[in-house]
């Protein structure tokens, strides 16, 4: 096991075999290549993509099926090449969540994070079409009390 000191979780042990590699990083974070996926039962279904390159960086995400069970994945040939996989039926799809204090709770369905569990490679696959929004509204905001 390896260990990293994260801002979100403090010291974190991880299995080097579980590291997920983004060959091109993510838009806006092109230099961030290595991540681990952190699952905590207490906050399910929310997951965290924790960067191993910048321990202060962590993206909250959720399986895309938790938002839209009918979601249809569409990847550009370039993203499919980066992922190195044609077996799209086996991939894991996550949506990155945004909960800015002053903004609504949204999920990026325009650009799902697509992970091949076999190769441990991943891309954030920005769609070519306008079928899904980068600010898809999630759930109901709690009413003020």
């Amino acid at each position: 096991m390896a260990e990293i000191l994260t801002r979100q979780f403090g010291p974190l042990e991880y299995d080097p075999a579980a590291v997920i590699e983004f060959p091109a990083g993510l838009p806006g974070f092109e230099a961030q290549r290595k991540f681990v996926l952190i699952e905590r039962p207490s906050v399910a279904p929310i997951l965290f993509l924790e960067s191993l390159d910048s321990p202060e960086l962590c993206f909250p995400a959720v399986p895309i099926s938790a938002i839209d069970p009918q979601y249809e994945l569409a990847m550009t040939p370039e993203d499919a090449r980066l992922l190195g996989s044609d077996r799209l039926e086996n991939v894991v799809c996550l949506a990155i969540l945004t909960a800015a204090p002053e903004g609504p709770l949204t999920a990026n369905l325009l650009a799902p994070v697509v992970i091949d569990p076999q190769s441990r490679r991943a891309v954030q696959a920005v769609r070519m079409d306008k079928r899904y929004s980068h600010r898809h509204s999630v759930g109901q905001e709690p009413a003020c009390s």
């Binding site: 994260t6 801002r7 979100q8 993510l26 838009p27 806006g28 974070f29 906050v43 279904p45 929310i46 965290f48 202060e56 960086l57 962590c58 993206f59 909250p60 959720v62 938790a66 990155i96 969540l97 945004t98 909960a99 800015a100 204090p101 903004g103 709770l105 949204t106 990026n108 325009l110 650009a111 954030q124 920005v126 769609r127 070519m128 980068h134 600010r135 999630v138 759930g139 109901q140 905001e141 709690p142």
Partner: protein
């Protein structure tokens, strides 16, 4: 917004170093050829929007932030 009509094979220039040529038009798509200096970033707009959204989403999150996220997925 400046609107210009162009046909395949025609081009527009932006500033000194940027040329956008219409390579091909079909009923649903336009194929563009873009010549620009190396230091000019050319991106599909969706990728730029996702970059902005990623910067907004990037944690670490406070306990309240995680609580807000969870609120979106609680069954009522």
């Amino acid at each position: 917004m400046l609107v210009i009509r162009r046909r395949a094979g025609e081009a527009v220039l932006i500033g000194d170093g940027i040329e956008i040529e219409i390579l091909e038009c079909t009923h649903s798509q336009v194929k563009l050829g873009i010549r620009a200096p190396k230091q000019v970033t050319v991106l599909r707009k969706e990728i730029h929007l996702t970059g902005e959204q990623n910067r907004l989403a990037a944690g670490p999150l406070s306990a309240e932030g995680i609580e807000r996220l969870l609120g979106g997925f609680r069954k009522v």
